[in-house]
Symmetry: C2
């Protein structure tokens, strides 16, 4: 009984090992930062307008705004803000963005409950654990058929977060998962539109609704992950050895092993390996932009699927390009939110440098995902060609972002929504969030405007 | 461009042929009645409690209650009330309940807009047209794989209803359908639980959310029904000749041909043919309950799939039984809401009569759905065996419910939620709804308690 075993883990886990709690705190910082940068995007603004018009009882804070709403509605708007820039973390075992739907739910429901910082971290880590284990169970075929794991797996993870925070029984959670299955959508077809982030927002809201209805006594199928007509089979999974993954719940925790991939740059994670290698080559060989004759970037099969724009025209297209981030990094020596405006992508210097970037396919018999694989990168200069194979992901556990840089990422994001002083204050609160008696203090600081 | 052609029909249709408007009015009466009987069910009560706690700005009426809420939330609660008794209409081309999600949306958005009765009927009829045509396009395989058409097709139909009432452009509707696709769930696995009606409620709410976001300028894939990775292919449809169905939009309207199947009795539609035949045999041969030695009821393949309880113990199980409705009809001479309480199913007289009911499989090479097919029925008495093959569905266009009886169905349902006097008043308002200048008058009367 897969459903029952998962539910038991969610309901019975009472504390986190120290390293898991520490990892959850890093994820909280990174995710909140991405969300605060995201609040200024049109998709996030439109979601806030919808939520504001609904005018629900003020219970949970809407980030980057000065109002509160129902927990499900706050989680909806906040999750869209979290994911809209595609700057938020990914998890290879989920094959998607792990915090996008789960953390907004942990914080909105935590705020409603007046939970402590430690309780929120615990519920969030449990959600990530469900996401990672279910992600493995759903396997590659679910994603490859056209489902958006961030939303379709994410809704079950987020439902677990809400159920844990509310202290639900196993039976309530099993019903909540049945209800979540009834709400479940999220399709790759919507990538490249605002609805990519809508899908994480919908998953977050639907998760809270599912838990709320189940807690009231609303019934659904109580074994949604079991049997020949299980949810995951209907949704295209070719289930293999599901049981083995359930045995590994919490041993080790997905938050620690494989651990999150944090984005160093606000573009598709598939481009991160090449960009990390390029930075290393530039530093090691003191390469100047004007001596670059060509940059060659090679991907094995599957590793660059989302990089569909070879000639990007907009900032959003630039995020899903193999060529533009390379060009911008070479010219500017760095990549940040300002690198991905329409204007930045269209500047002549970037377009000239993009012409020197050659993308090719590395022959390999294996097929990789965006978060697993390697990238070959080479820079040709009059002094010779410098090259390397990059088999680690920048921002992953094996190539971590230094703590100081990670905090700088947070601050550079947070100032999109608030003053530098308030961003500093919020960062300090996050660093000691495990000692925070009531998460409402943090949520209020997050929602502040100006 | 299937998506575009459908959107054009929804946006450009400005009036209904007289017979379609008349058919829409009958559907309105039948559906509202079912909803008012449904409001007392636990599933509907729990949904109202959730919506009440959310406390959104009062815009649209919640049926059987004394408060209003956001249109999406009202549609959610009202659609659950509509579908919870499984007394609401079905449409063979949809292979599901056609009004369950569409009518609550037409009325909630109509109330928000202050639309006239005629405008609400028009938007609703357009929704049924989308449901019937998309239902054909999705075909049998979508349902047979495990999707709940009432919700999965219903969400697109309901989105069309909202978009028509709001006067949206084709482009807004195409984006709204892309957003609706991102929200779309509803699985057969949840049948037999409260989540069957939850799925129609979720479709109704999600439809309004999708339209609302698209109207604000939120983007999604604008051709969701087109291409190799269309929505319907991802959701298991084996699409055949989709184009031909689009050519038939409004010619004829599904509301008229094939027309709705209205339930004469509050149990699965699959049992209706046999029950209709049984009533005819009893009347023609003056059969008394105590002279019945046996009742034989035969179904061809597929025609009785949902009738899974051969020995039902509860009212809900009795609805999905081949034997119990036959027994109750023989004993009581009628079937109504009171026939499907736990107590009624458990009474000794019913259990004794059920023992005399024999269900069998009719050899047939074709496979039928619950709304298409036939039933063989035979009653054995000391005077001989009387039998017939019933190839029409009671409550369908070919065997319509007399107007007087249909009004009686409405009144017997409505008194579950209101006094007989108020039910009479509401019926009179429905009968002249095409002349009602503002649907808010009807909605207020519908929501009244006591």
């Amino acid at each position: 009984m897969l459903t029952q075993q998962l539910a038991r883990f969610v309901c019975e886990t009472k504390a986190l090992p120290g390293e898991v709690q520490a990892a959850a705190k890093v994820a909280l910082m990174d995710t909140l930062g991405c969300a605060l940068a995201g609040v200024t995007e049109p998709a996030a603004r439109l979601a806030r307008e919808h939520v504001a018009e609904m005018g629900a009882r003020p219970v949970a804070s809407v980030w980057g705004a000065n109002f509160s709403t129902a927990p499900a509605e706050a989680a909806f708007a906040n999750a869209i803000a979290t994911h809209v820039l595609d700057f938020d973390d990914t998890l290879s075992t989920l094959r998607g963005h792990a915090s996008a739907s789960t953390l907004p739910v942990a914080l909105a429901v935590g705020e409603q409950m007046g939970a402590s910082g430690k309780q929120v971290l615990l519920a969030y880590a449990i959600g990530i654990e469900v996401a990672g284990k279910l992600g493995r169970i759903f396997g590659d075929s679910h994603y490859l058929k056209g489902w958006h794991n961030t939303a379709t797996v994410g809704i079950f993870a987020a439902t677990a977060v809400a159920a844990h925070l509310r202290g639900d029984s196993e039976q309530v959670l099993r019903n909540a998962w049945g209800i979540a299955a009834a709400e479940c959508g999220g399709i790759l077809r919507n990538f490249g539109t605002m609805s990519k982030s809508f899908q994480s927002g919908h998953a977050a809201r639907s998760a809270i609704l599912a838990e709320d209805m189940a807690r009231r006594g609303f019934t659904a199928n109580e074994a949604i992950f079991d049997g020949n007509d299980s949810f995951q089979r209907l949704y295209g999974a070719e289930e293999k050895n599901a049981g083995q993954y359930v045995q590994r719940l919490g041993s080790p925790w997905d938050l620690v092993q494989p651990g999150m991939n944090y984005k160093r740059w606000p573009c598709c994670y598939c481009s991160h390996r090449g960009l990390g290698g390029l930075l290393e080559l530039i530093a090691a060989h003191q390469i100047k932009p004007d001596e670059i004759e060509a940059v060659r970037i090679g991907f094995p099969p599957g590793a660059d699927e989302p990089l569909v724009y070879n000639d990007p025209q907009t900032g959003l297209e630039g995020k899903f390009s193999a060529q533009y981030p390379v060009a911008a990094l070479v010219i500017d020596g760095r990549l940040n939110l300002q690198s991905f405006t329409d204007k930045a992508v269209q500047r002549p210097a970037a377009r000239a440098m993009m012409k020197k970037v050659e993308r090719y396919r590395v022959a390999d018999t294996a097929v990789y995902s965006g978060t697993v694989g390697y990238t070959d990168i080479a820079v040709k200069t009059p002094r010779g060609e410098f090259s390397m194979r990059v088999d680690k992901g920048p921002g992953s556990r094996s190539w971590p972002i230094p703590e100081r840089e990670h905090q700088e990422k947070f601050l550079s994001c947070a100032v999109c929504a608030m003053s530098a002083g308030k961003a500093d204050h919020l960062l300090a609160m996050i660093i000691s969030v495990d000692n925070l008696p009531d998460i409402r203090e943090l949520m209020t600081a997050t929602a502040l405007k100006g």
